[in-house]
């Protein structure tokens, strides 16, 4: 069986991590090898980025039989949308390693990180629904382990909670997938769970499709999370170790969005359009709701949890805005927010590592001790609040335009995004980092060279994406055009 | 004539069987429970014999023989267990044996 580029990207971390787990190597070796692996994966993904043709087709396809009796195939592919997320993942994870470098964790930690990478990339690249479900579930276990073993506070409760919560959602998705497969079998007489096949089903009635649609949506809504399903987020974020929360916020939540676009949109275009208003409403509501909730949080991670929830709600609104502005903006905000929030969580991680877990009121005066950290923090924060010149601004502008196109009033309300994040982020910056208090922050150390290089290169990318967004966006344009015109049949901008 | 007697045999067997069931459920004494099980078995034997007589073939009666054999082998286990249980609890009341009761949070 010939191994394609994508399989290599997916399974290299898995293999390495197993080897590391079996071999009697120490923590440091494990960490270094794991880091090298992620770098290799990053380079591979770069080659994908540069060899990516400017079309809306799936590229770098891989297709092998797996469980032939039920037509389950091992099939992978990349299109513009998943390509940028792939780039995101493979770029962010090495950065994460740089920042987790000095955490004195056992080798299991690093091995789990590799496993997570396999899980997320697999879920990202698989085009067979069973394969997708396969990765989607299995990427949960290392997270379960990481939070449970290395977490803090009420970690066991929260890790059980997130696991069970997420599995509940994905089980509903499983039923829907099976239902689709059976429907395909009844119509065409052969088994298949290929996305490209399942979209051809015509026999399902509207009611059935609606049920299936929500079967899928629950899974993704819990992962993202969309409004009523968000309560696991806060506990989990505040109890996770830095690596876990970094992965959860920067990557996994984004996969929920990705899942909607990749599977729900082509499978149920009619429902997608039909229920778009509700999700746009939920999104804009969530944007403001979570934003206000974040204002008075005492725990930084908890505040960031709410802030991510707010942004993700905004992204959700964007992908349901049914026009190219919103979709493009959502795609761009996925990247922008992942970078910024990931960076922020890593920086907060270093603060925690030096000073221990503290509430915001227990911090302060860090800026004097750690100027580089402060600058980096500020840059990430600018992107979060969507300051022009950062990618955050471009994406938020596009989404607001999309929502405006969708409905003028919604658009006007959603424009309040420029206020929401700024209102609490700058306050947090003031209280936690800048202002000198009588708390003892003498143990605070500034970033070391690796970290500076890492975080500032990230910041450079953020700025570049803000100053020259076109160069980053033109590759996904055909894909989104394809979604809107060929699948949803709503046209790029109604 | 034969029909009538046949039906009556069957009816007798069924009555015995039901008695067995009732005994199994209502009686507390281990021995009597064991006996009612035997009673059911024998009711079935009676049925078998009746049927083989009615069909005019032997296999019903052969089966009955085998059933008796099986009942005997079961009897062995029964009696040995009853003895063991009596040794342990000095009681033949079946309701006294509830050490395996589900405790709310064990």
């Amino acid at each position: 069986m010939d191994i394609g580029l994508l399989s290599f990207i997916i399974f290299l971390p898995l293999i390495v991590s197993f080897v590391l787990l079996v071999l009697p190597v120490g923590m440091k070796t494990t960490r270094n090898i794991a880091f090298a692996t992620t770098i290799v994966v990053f380079l591979l993904s770069l080659s994908i980025f540069f060899n990516f043709q400017l079309t809306d087709y799936m590229q770098f396809r891989e297709f092998h039989p797996w469980i032939t009796s039920y037509g389950i195939y091992y099939s992978l592919g990349v299109d513009g949308f998943s390509m940028i997320i792939l780039m995101l993942i493979t770029t962010l994870i090495p950065l994460g390693y740089i920042f987790l470098w000095k955490t004195k964790k056992a080798k299991g930690y690093w091995a789990s990180m590799l496993l997570i990478q396999t899980g997320v990339t697999g879920a990202l690249l698989s085009l067979d629904l069973i394969l997708f479900y396969f990765f989607w579930e299995s990427m949960l276990l290392p997270v379960f382990m990481i939070i449970g073993i290395y977490g803090t506070g009420d970690r066991i409760f929260s890790t059980l909670k997130i696991t069970i919560y997420t599995i509940m959602g994905s089980l509903f998705m499983l039923v829907s997938i099976l239902y689709l497969g059976v429907a395909f079998y009844n119509e065409f007489g052969v088994w298949s769970f290929q996305l490209s096949d399942l979209v051809q089903i015509t026999t399902l009635s509207n009611i059935q499709r609606t049920f299936l649609f929500f079967g899928f949506m629950i899974a993704f809504a819990i992962k993202i999370p969309i409004f009523p399903f968000h309560t696991w987020l806060m506990q989990t974020y505040s109890n996770s170790p830095t690596g876990g929360v970094f992965i959860l916020s920067a990557i996994m939540a984004k996969l929920g969005i990705y899942g909607i676009v990749r599977f729900v949109l082509p499978l149920f275009p009619h429902q997608y359009v039909e229920f778009a208003p509700y999700f746009v409403g939920l999104g804009v509501f969530g944007l403001i709701y979570f934003g206000i909730a974040a204002l008075m949080q005492q725990n930084i991670k908890r505040m960031f949890a709410y802030s991510s929830a707010s942004h993700l709600a905004f992204i959700t609104a964007g992908i349901f805005s049914l026009n190219i502005y919103g979709m493009t903006g959502a795609a761009f905000l996925i990247v922008a927010h992942a970078m910024a929030t990931g960076g922020l969580f890593l920086l907060v991680g270093t603060i925690e590592h030096d000073l221990g877990i503290r509430s915001i009121s227990g911090l302060g005066g860090i800026a004097k001790k750690a100027p580089f950290l402060t600058v980096a923090f500020a840059l990430m924060l600018f992107s979060i609040v969507g300051l022009p010149g950062t990618n955050g601004f471009v994406s938020e502008l596009l989404i607001v335009m999309g929502l405006f196109q969708y409905n003028q009033y919604i658009g006007i309300i959603s424009a309040s995004t420029v206020l929401v994040a700024a209102s609490f982020m700058f306050w947090l910056f003031q209280r936690a980092i800048l202002v000198k208090t009588d708390n003892d922050v003498s143990k605070m150390k500034d970033l070391d060279k690796k970290e500076i290089v890492g975080i500032f290169s990230l910041a450079a990318v953020i700025m570049a994406m803000g100053i020259y967004p076109h160069w980053f966006l033109y590759k996904i344009a055909p894909t989104i055009q394809h979604y809107l015109v060929d699948i949803l049949k709503v046209g790029v901008a109604s | 004539m034969i029909e009538a007697s046949f039906m009556s045999y069957i009816a007798l067997a069924l009555v015995l069987f039901s008695l067995g069931i009732i005994g199994l459920i209502s009686r507390k004494n281990i021995f009597i429970i064991y006996m009612s099980l035997e009673l059911m078995l024998n009711a079935i034997n009676l049925m078998l014999v009746t049927l083989s007589k009615y069909f005019g073939s032997m296999d019903g009666q052969i089966i009955a023989m085998m059933v008796i054999a099986i009942a005997a082998s079961e009897a062995v286990i029964f009696l040995s267990l009853i003895v063991a249980m009596y040794r342990l609890k000095k009681s033949v009341n079946i309701d006294d044996f509830d050490t395996l009761k589900q405790k709310g949070t064990l």
Partner: protein, 627 residues
Amino acid sequence: MNSFFLAWIVLVPFISSILLGSMYLYSISVKKIPNSVFTFLAVLSPLISFILGVLFFIGLENGASDYIYEPYTWLQVNGYIISMGFLGDRLSIFMVLFITFIGLMIHIYATGYMKGDEGYGKFFSYFNLFIASMLLLVLANSPIIMFIGWEGVGLCSYLLIGFYFTEPLNVVAGNKAFIVNRVGDLGFLIGLIFLFFYVGKLGFDYGALEEYVSIVPNHILTIIGIALFVGAMGKSAQIPLYVWLPDAMAGPTPVSALIHAATMVTAGVYMVARFHFLYDLIPNVGLFIAYIGAFSALFAAVIAMKQTDIKKILAYSTISQLGYMFIAVGLGFYSTGLFHVFTHAFFKALLFMGAGAVIIALHHEQNIFKMGGLRKKLPLVYTVMLIATLSISGIPPFSGFFSKDEILLKAYSHHEYLIYAIGLFTAALTAYYMFRLFFVTFYGKNYKEHHMQSISWSIKAPLVVLAFGAAFAGFMGLPDVFGGENLIDGWLNMWSGKALHVEYSVEYILMAISVIAGLLGILVSFLKFYRYDFNQKIQESGVVYNKFYIDEIYNFLFVRSLQKLSVFISVVVDDGIIDKTVMSLSNGFINLGRIIGRMQCANTRAYAFFMLVGLSSFSLYLILKLG
């Protein structure tokens, strides 16, 4: 002149700011870099921009058409292209000139003012960044790009207000400035998006907008106009979004001079002027703007009368002067407004720098009632302050007179008598409170002696330069009554459309009235404060002194209520309702299990009975099935 250099007007300060910033981080973390290096870079970059500006100016003078430079496509979505474009027309070059010039002056001033401050490099990094953003704002060829600069200057003001970030008050003031500006930007953004969806698709640079703006339905135009102006309210500190500016004085004085007096706060005026083609179509909105301006002018002046902090007084006077500018642009006399922007930049910068000099000399004392009798001690500062004060009070022949008087004249001639009256009254008040400041600072009796700190030349030189500007800049806009011809009007002539229809006689009378008003104000304050006795207790209370409690009201209305709501959401709704529901579902299931688990009663006969029940239910089912 190659339009390619337009970008470099912006890029030079931008690059140097990044250089300065990294050098600063290097010097604090690795090894010290001498301040001279920072000084050199910092002063060089605005100088280069200024020279470039001058070159473009000459180019335009020689009748060259507008310079446009579009290096790349910033964003292309749905086939509509927004390109990163720079536009060098007469308006923007005019702005570039005075921004870079005044910027240069204040940079030089700051080198003296910030001497010995540990954040020296950081300060100039921010300063250059500000110049860059401001220049991007004025040079941008598309509203979106302009918005980048627009937010950029806001950011710089945030950074510079909170320059001494270890002090809570400064950072709070910075946050306040940023958030309030953000409120304005919200409006601005909405305006932009409306604009994009109604005309922008035909091209989103000013040329195209000007060409096609007429296709927009009128009510939409009104919305756009108001929304954009909300942005201007934020940036230029007009009612009701002015609250951030007085607090912004927490920053170092050069910051106040450059950002919160001369340049950034005038961005709103510039924006309205830039969108003249839009506002020309909606005179009602223009009138609204004018009234907002008028009331801001009056309101700020009233508040200023009672303030004691020298910089606060100047801040309120800035708000008041900005009000004048909005009167002008609102009524459609853009060049007049910009004329006032121009003169105001000189005398207000001068005032701030003079105040700064005083503050330095008195070891960072800002309360004017702790000063007094500085005339002997600081003769030069005294002189320049006198010039500037006269200029702002509108006394001929100083620059302020011409610009302000022209505004009043235009208002009168436009038959907006109420605005005219307010303006006139405000002029009197301005004269009053400015001279109050002046007299209390430099005259008065039995003030206590101060131990003076010497003022370096790098501070004095710019004062002198600007003093000349404050004195004579007005002659650039000499009204034709005096046989002069308005250079500013001439330079920006392409759209100062409305002709003046008042006879010279009326104009003379109006001038006389405004001069008299000014003199009146001066007289009053002279009587009250020329021989001010520093022993007497000045009352620091009252509605006016407390700025009509506006801050408290805002705080109660928005901040407190939001915080309460936030707690409510996160504690009551999330943890209390949603999460409780989720958890109670699972716990309920487990408890139900405990109850059902009772069936495992370990009673043989009961088990047998269950089996019997099953058996009978089966037989029942069978009977029903077979009928």
